[in-house]
């Protein structure tokens, strides 16, 4: 375990942690909206409407493709996007584990 940095002002660090949390919640809410739209939206609720369109050059009706392929690709992309943004946020607020690991 690392020796904690001297914490001269406990309230400031607590405030910073709350800011960090607020930004985390905002980021993940945004990503969850995309998650919902790509699966429940395109794949289920608006599927008939999207099925009128075909992905050019293929036999895929668009809604069907989202339900069986597209949504899964979106899920993968969302997780990696979240990881990347959170690692940056951790560093910005000095709460990452770089110090811990050494």
């Amino acid at each position: 375990m690392p020796i904690p940095k001297p914490d001269h002002d406990h309230d400031t660090s607590r405030q910073a942690h709350r800011d960090y949390w607020r930004r985390n919640v905002r980021l993940l809410s945004g990503l969850l909206v995309v998650w919902f739209v790509a699966s429940y939206g395109f794949g289920i609720l608006w599927v008939d409407w999207l099925n009128a369109v075909r992905i050019p050059g293929t036999g895929f009706p668009l809604g069907f493709w989202f339900a069986q392929q597209g949504s899964i690709y979106v899920f993968v992309a969302l997780i990696f996007l979240y990881v990347w943004r959170m690692n940056r946020l951790d560093e910005e607020y000095g709460v990452s584990e770089e110090g811990d690991a050494s």
Partner: protein
């Protein structure tokens, strides 16, 4: 070499591999046993999670289900992958920071209550047991079909193997054998899929192949399939028959259930840091997506091949695989009109249907239907076994840690030594293997039904309690217990009523809001959230120490490097 000889060789080699890995990675401490020493790399953990998660159902049954359900099968494809987004964003990093061994550990500490811990232990054991007996059954079916040994012998061989590496190696042994099993199962899934994609659609990438043109007719494959469906009186493949609301509810129950399953959650306790927990969920989904995006392609190829091979063909000329599966009772033909032809038709057709095909055989029979070489068939058998065994081992670990850690160490015998706890963990794993094996050989009629509902139960019990435990500092013991009880009782009652008490009423007209028992977990989850939030507002806030702990788990710093505790 015959199909059977190939199968013996390939299955034998993979079993030898698993045993070798298990011997190399024995557990020396309870920390090894429960969380593999907390030192697993995120990539390896992602692979192990994928094998842990993808059960006999994913490998053997899913493509078949999609093949028969068409668009409606999307509930499984989205439902069993979308939950990982919830895990990565809402659960895994915080539970890793919390840094204990099991899910009931978190529930018990966060809600400062032995009652909540015991409720969580009971849910975890119940969900895991129903699930594991299905896996053992899968092992038995693969053995009986491909190696032509009785199902009982097959289950006993499977039990022996799981016993060996789960009891000896605990989480550490399981993790590294699961990595090996992932490699076997994904190879076994992709090889026939690629072969068939080349045969049917002329491309090596199945994900593109099923949107491409049929090599024979030049028509788009999906158009051809819709045409065949129309001709034979089935609903169109690409639009499906279920109500939209029901599709929505089932998908949600499966997604949320995935994020609430204890054997998946504990995998993220095995990595060294919080950031590793996040990325390892990403890797897990990548490895899962490789199979899950291939499955709908396999479904389309298999469906087209099946219709082309059997529909309106004379029964006297059926290929060899057809007769072999008839022997197992999974294909049945009844020549109702006595014309010697196989009428395989849907509900909208004017003539009666004469053929029943069990959905579970599509993946296993596919290589034979497409006429692939014998070694591919053997490979598929080994892949099915890898999928079933890896999931069974992960589930058994949840049962054993629930008993030795949550029930004994944290409940009845807090003074138990490290050595005693490790012994208790091994003994309970051994007992769990035997019980699971028994359930696999002699399944009570309801097991198969219940497996599908494990998700709804996990969604309506664990998920809200975990989410609120992290995202609401104000959530207290009273709210959590009331929410869990209401959620699981509502969901279980709905399922029990329609499946066991009054199965005749199990039709869309009688369902509440047209939601089937498979999807009711979504409503149970919403109820759980509503009850927890309401009750917690009218009861005292949690103690200061617990509120501080909640703030603490939101910050990655301080999760700590893996610590070795020697036995």
């Amino acid at each position: 070499m015959s199909v059977q000889a190939w199968t013996f060789v390939i299955v034998g080699l993979t079993f030898a591999l698993y045993i070798g890995v298990a011997v190399w990675s024995r557990a020396g401490s309870t920390r090894d046993f429960y969380v593999a020493g907390g030192g697993v790399s995120p990539l390896a953990n992602g692979m192990a999670t994928a094998a842990d998660w993808m059960s006999a159902a994913s490998f053997i049954s899913m493509a078949g289900l999609v093949s028969f359900l068409g668009y409606d099968g999307s509930v499984y494809l989205m439902g069993w992958t979308g939950g990982y987004v919830l895990l990565a964003l809402l659960l895994a990093p915080y539970l890793r920071k919390f840094g204990k061994y099991t899910v009931p550990d978190f529930v018990g500490d966060r809600y400062y209550s032995q009652l909540a811990r015991v409720v969580a232990v009971v849910c975890a054991i119940f969900v895991s047991f129903t699930y594991v007996s299905g896996q053992m059954r899968g092992v038995g079916i693969v053995f009986s079909r491909f190696l032509e040994v009785p199902i009982t012998t097959g289950v006993i061989i499977g039990m022996g193997l799981v016993f060996f590496y789960a009891v000896l190696g605990g989480m550490k042994g399981i993790t590294y054998t699961q990595v090996a099993q992932y490699c076997v199962l994904i190879f076994a899934y992709l090889v026939p899929a690629i072969f068939i994609s080349m045969l049917v659609a002329g491309t090596v990438i199945p994900q593109l192949g099923f949107g491409g043109t049929d090599a024979a007719s030049g028509e788009f494959l999906l158009d051809r399939l819709n045409g065949l469906h129309d001709e034979l009186g089935f609903a169109p493949y690409t639009s499906g028959a279920k109500s939209r609301l029901d599709v929505f509810a089932i998908t949600a129950a499966l997604m949320v259930g995935t994020a609430g399953l204890p054997h998946v959650i504990i995998r993220f306790f095995t990595v060294p840091r919080v950031r590793d927990a996040r990325i390892s969920v990403g890797w897990a989904l990548v490895f899962i997506a490789i199979l899950y995006t291939t499955a709908p392609a396999v479904a389309v190829f298999a469906r087209t091949n099946l219709l082309a091979t059997v529909a309106e063909q004379p029964y006297a000329d059926v290929p060899e695989w057809f007769e072999k599966w008839e022997d197992t009772g999974l294909i049945a033909f009844d020549d109702v009109n006595g014309d010697g032809l196989i009428q395989y038709v849907g509900p909208a057709a004017s003539t009666p249907n004469e053929l029943t095909v069990d959905r579970d055989i599509m993946v296993l029979a596919n290589p034979e239907i497409a006429g692939l070489p014998a070694w591919v068939v053997g490979l598929v058998a080994a892949g099915g076994l890898a999928a079933a065994l890896s999931t069974a081992a992960g589930l058994l670990l949840v049962v054993s840690s629930a008993v030795s850690h949550d029930l004994l160490k944290r409940g009845l015998m807090p003074e138990i030594t490290e050595k005693g706890e490790l012994l208790a963990a091994r003994v309970s794993a051994a007992v769990a293997v035997v019980v699971a094996g028994y359930l696999g050989i002699d399944p009570p009629g309801f097991v198969a039904e219940v497996v599908a509902f494990a998700f709804g139960l996990a969604a309506s019990s664990f998920f809200p309690v975990l989410i609120l435990g992290i995202f609401s500092r104000r959530m207290n013991r009273e709210g959590a217990v009331a929410g869990m009880v209401v959620g699981i009782v509502f969901t279980a009652a709905y399922i029990v009523y329609f499946k066991f008490v009054n199965p005749a009423a199990d039709t869309a007209e009688n369902w509440w809001w047209g939601i089937s028992p498979e999807g009711i977990g979504t409503v149970g989850m919403a109820l759980n959230f509503a009850v927890s939030l309401t009750v917690s507002r009218f009861t005292p806030a949690p103690p200061e120490a617990v509120q501080r702990m909640v703030e603490e788990i939101r910050i990655p710093r301080g999760a700590g490097p893996p610590r070795e505790i020697q036995a």
